[in-house]
């Protein structure tokens, strides 16, 4: 017989969103805490998903199914964790910067981060600096993620970071950037805290940010 | 160099089969000897052909056309050369060994050697060791060339060399071998004097053997 943790991890791995809330309920009935179910169940499942994806043994649609089930689990656990005053993974505000309508990469980052257990606020595409500033004020995120697909709009990332600085909010958030023409050097140049070369890397980076914080 | 000789050389290079006899006659009429025409006109042309071929600027059908052109002129010159002291570069006996009907590589070698001024006798394909022996006795070649395209018939080359040895004729001739599966190692193994990777190098090797290189 597998334990409730194993069942939860398996449900996440298999992307079984319907089953996850039931399993959490069952775990609570068995006397497990929300924190235990998260750390020993859901997170273990998602770690395996990440490992398999990196090896090329899992495909994006499968990863997203797993992310969905993780999100479903978090939906149940988040209020309980808050109640227990447990530390949660945190919140990410995401957006594609002004002038850029490409947002598939950013959407993928959003879904992967949700899968990692973050609360994700997705602003959409073509977002001016003010939209980021408003969102930071409203959602108090730990991390702001920006993407751009064009070299011209990459510049808008710089402008956005500057605007955040000027609004006095720069110290509250870690900023990560990404998008096809972006690289580490550019991220450093515009004063971002990090760069994710693709969606899984961005999600790893986000985890790093909050664990370091 | 006389203008006529230069034209002869050019005609050889260009493979102007039809104009050869006329040009050769013209040269004779000018008082040039057959040997001069051969050495400075025809062979000059063929040397150029050889160089161009090696440099990748001329192609087999063109080389053969040049050889044919030279032959045309030789028709006229040969009786005179035989009468005088003149000699061909050397004599070569060629054949594809017993069991092998592949002809193309050996034919190429024959044509290339003719182009280099050799007197070539071609025994054809599927040649028994005995046929080589009687031809050596009768034709008295400087060089015996053998080819084989099949790995099975390769060893018939060894048989043939052995037969030549046993007949006591080995010292009279240089033996060169070739063919797609043949290697230098194999040539050494069966006691051949040389190996050529293709028709052009076979003709070079032959020249080396007779000290004309």
């Amino acid at each position: 017989m597998s334990t409730i943790y194993e069942k939860l991890a398996t449900a996440v791995l298999e992307g079984n969103s319907d089953k996850v809330p039931d399993l959490i309920q069952k775990g609570m009935d068995e006397g497990k805490t929300a924190k235990e179910l998260l750390d020993n169940g859901l997170v273990v499942g998602m770690d395996e998903v990440g490992a398999r994806f990196k090896r090329g043994d899992m495909f994006v649609p499968e990863v997203l199914m797993s992310a969905e089930s993780m999100k479903a689990g978090m939906g149940v656990l988040r209020p309980l964790l808050a109640e227990a005053e447990e530390e949660m993974l945190g919140t990410i505000v995401l957006g594609t910067v002004e002038g850029d309508l490409h947002d598939i990469g950013k959407n993928l980052v959003g879904m992967m981060c949700e899968g990692a257990g973050f609360e994700v606020v997705n602003l959409g595409f073509d977002q001016p600096p003010q939209a980021f500033i408003d969102a930071i004020k409203q959602h108090q995120p730990d991390i702001v993620g920006m993407s751009a697909l064009l070299t011209t709009t990459m510049r808008a990332m710089g402008h956005t970071i500057k605007a955040i600085e000027e609004a006095g909010l720069r110290d509250q958030v870690k900023i990560m950037v990404g998008g096809a023409p972006v690289d580490k050097e550019f991220a450093d140049r515009i004063g971002a805290d990090g760069y994710g070369s693709n969606a899984p890397a961005a999600s790893d980076l986000a985890k790093e940010f909050v664990s370091a914080a | 160099m006389s203008d006529t000789l230069e034209r002869l050389a050019t005609a050889v290079v260009e493979g102007n089969v039809d104009s050869m006899e006329e040009l050769a006659q013209e040269a004779l009429d000018e008082g040039l000897s057959a040997q001069e025409i051969l050495n400075d006109g025809l062979m000059g042309g063929m040397n150029h052909v050889g160089k161009e071929f090696k440099a990748g600027n001329m192609f087999v059908p063109e080389v053969l056309r040049s050889a044919k052109a030279m032959k045309e002129a030789m028709k006229l010159l040969e009786p005179m050369l035989a009468a005088g002291e003149a000699q061909a570069t050397g004599k070569i006996l060629l054949g594809t060994v017993k069991g092998d009907l592949h002809d193309i590589g050996k034919n190429l070698v024959g044509m290339m050697c003719e182009g280099a001024g050799f007197d070539v006798r071609d025994l054809g394909t599927d040649v028994e060791p005995d046929q080589f022996l009687s031809a050596i006795k009768e034709f008295e070649p400087d060089i015996v060339g053998m080819s084989a395209l099949l790995t099975t018939t390769m060893r018939a080359m060894g048989d043939t060399i052995k037969a030549i040895e046993e007949a006591g004729l080995r010292d009279q001739v240089k033996v060169m071998i070739g063919g797609a599966p043949v290697t230098q190692r194999f040539a050494d193994d069966i006691g051949a004097d040389g190996y050529a990777a293709n028709a052009a190098s076979a003709s070079d090797l032959a020249k080396e053997f007779v000290g004309a290189a």
């Binding site: 495909f59 994006v60 649609p61 997203l64 199914m65 969905e68 309508l101 947002d103 598939i104 959407n107 993928l108 879904m111 595409f125 690289d183 580490k184 070369s197 693709n198 890397a201 | 071929f53 990748g56 001329m58 192609f59 087999v60 059908p61 009907l101 592949h102 193309i104 190429l108 790995t151 099975t152 390769m154 060893r155 060894g158 048989d159 052995k162 797609a180 599966p181 290697t183 190692r185 193994d189 069966i190 293709n198 028709a199 052009a200």
Partner: protein, 495 residues
């Protein structure tokens, strides 16, 4: 519901029209009837004469009716079976299906450890067969070399004896003469369970090669007669050189090459009506400066496409050629040439495409070229599979649901199709730069070498039936006894 809805199952490629094929077909009949071939095999000449051919010394001319009758007897579709009953390894030859495998008789081999070129040896046979067995897009086996470290007469027999245990994919067996063929057949029968069982489920194909221009050699026919009597499916393929041993024009070389192959067809069908016969040949140009028969020329693909279509027009399967190169090493030229010929072979549906893994114009066999071409074949097969167009794949509803600015990553429609609609590579790398950089900037060559070594370290082919291994040993011993007196042996001892 739709009607009058015609779809392309896979893509459609044509080099020639039916009018042109009919003209080529008539040209072949003309050559066979008027020019004829030199047939260096007395028994075959007798068989041909009895069947209705005109024999004049060694020259044989075949009347058109006899060729057409032979074509009618030969099957277009048949199956060659895996020795172990693994259906995945069976080959169903028939319209629209292209299969791939290595070629035979290269004198050299690229050593798997040192990566250096050296003579092909006995141990290489099992390496090739194991790699063939493991590669998903390689369908049949040949040895990629002539074994150098056994008696020269026995090279073909040793090849078969070492291929057979190491792959259950059907083997196309090459041999020097009838004696090899007998030994090979004995081994195959032992595994198949006797002659009758073999006839029902043949597990190998026999390969014979006549000579261009227009010569049926003794060995080729001697083997053909043997194979036909034993009902072994047969490949009869000349290797004609455009401008050398055949006309330089594509139409000319095809005409001559097919005439050469159909002489074999006529003899085979006279001996064994209905014998599966795979028409040849290997048609390409000679590089007129380097003087090599080119295995990488675009003309190879061009001429092979033409001859494939003529074979299919006449109702025969074809022995295609591809995945080979003139390059001396594993480089970009090898990939360009190999990929292009593999692609055209797949496009024509040429039934059995061999010489995959040849480098250096057939002088050196390479399992690395073979493994890389496995990837190219997979690629080609994805293209030739074409695009399904139906209500589900047209996806108008999915498009409507997602709408402007949405995405499809979570759509059920995507989940249903992403595994089958897309091809996933083994050797082509699609990581982004950072990951590729972090992982050591490996080229495709590096990955190919790793993959081959992985296969050799881990792959285990299906075992032979009990007793077959013993029989193989005794066949080899018998053969060794037969050739013992040869001079070659003396040389070996002298060394």
């Amino acid at each position: 519901m739709r009607t009058n809805y015609r779809v392309n199952s896979g893509v459609r490629f044509r080099m020639l029209t039916d009018d042109q094929l009919q003209e080529l077909f008539d040209g072949v009949l003309h050559v066979l009837e008027n020019t004829g071939l030199e047939v260096h095999h007395e028994e075959s000449r007798q068989i041909l004469q009895e069947a209705g051919a005109w024999v004049d010394g060694t020259r044989v001319r075949v009347p058109s009716w006899l060729v057409k009758e032979s074509l009618r007897k030969a099957p277009r579709s048949f199956t060659v079976y895996a020795r172990d009953g693994n259906r995945e390894h069976n080959i169903h030859i028939g319209p629209g299906r292209a299969h791939f495998g290595p070629g035979p008789t290269c004198p050299n081999f690229i050593d798997v450890e040192t990566l250096e070129r050296r003579p092909y040896i006995k141990d290489d046979v099992s390496i090739v067969a194991t790699v063939v067995d493991a590669l998903p897009n390689i369908d049949f086996c040949e040895s990629l070399g002539s074994v150098d470290d056994v008696h020269a007469d026995l090279s073909a027999l040793y090849e078969f004896a070492h291929m057979f245990p190491n792959t259950s994919k059907p083997i196309v067996a090459w041999s020097f003469d009838k004696y090899d063929s007998e030994g090979i057949h004995q081994i195959a029968l032992a595994e198949a369970g006797g002659q009758e069982a073999f006839e029902q489920r043949p597990n190998y194909i026999h390969y014979c090669e006549p000579l261009s221009p227009l010569i049926s050699t003794f060995e080729a026919l001697d083997k053909l007669v043997f194979a036909a009597r034993k009902r072994v499916p047969l490949v009869f393929t000349p290797c004609a050189i455009a401008g050398g041993t055949a006309p330089i024009t594509a139409a000319g070389i095809i005409t001559q090459g097919v005439a050469e192959s159909w002489m074999g067809l006529t003899i085979a069908q006279a001996i064994q009506p209905g014998l599966p016969f795979i028409m040849g040949g290997v048609l390409s140009v000679m590089d007129m400066n380097a003087m090599v028969f080119s295995y990488g020329a675009p003309e190879l693909s061009l001429m092979m496409a033409g001859v494939t279509e003529l074979a299919h027009f006449a109702g025969l399967p074809l022995w295609q050629t591809g995945g080979c190169t003139d390059s001396k090493t594993f480089d970009e030229q090898a990939m360009i040439e190999g990929s292009m010929s593999v692609y055209f072979s797949a496009l024509t549906g040429g039934d059995l495409c061999h010489d995959v893994g040849y480098t250096e114009s057939a002088m050196t066999g390479s399992v690395f070229q073979l493994a890389a071409m496995d990837e190219a074949i997979g690629y080609a097969r994805r293209i030739t599979r074409g695009i399904d167009v139906n209500e589900d794949t047209l996806a108008t509803e999915a498009i409507h649901n997602v709408g402007p600015n949405g995405h499809y990553l979570r759509e059920p429609h995507t989940r249903r199709h992403y595994k089958t609609e897309f091809w996933y590579p083994n050797l082509c790398d699609r990581r982004n730069f950072d990951e590729w950089d972090t992982m050591g900037r490996k080229t495709m060559k590096d990955r190919t070498i790793e993959r081959v070594r992985d296969i050799l370290a881990s792959h285990e082919p299906a075992p032979l039936k009990e007793g077959t291994e013993t029989l193989i040993q005794s066949v080899l011993e018998e053969a060794e006894d037969r050739v013992q007196q040869d001079w070659w042996q003396e040389r070996e001892i002298a060394d």
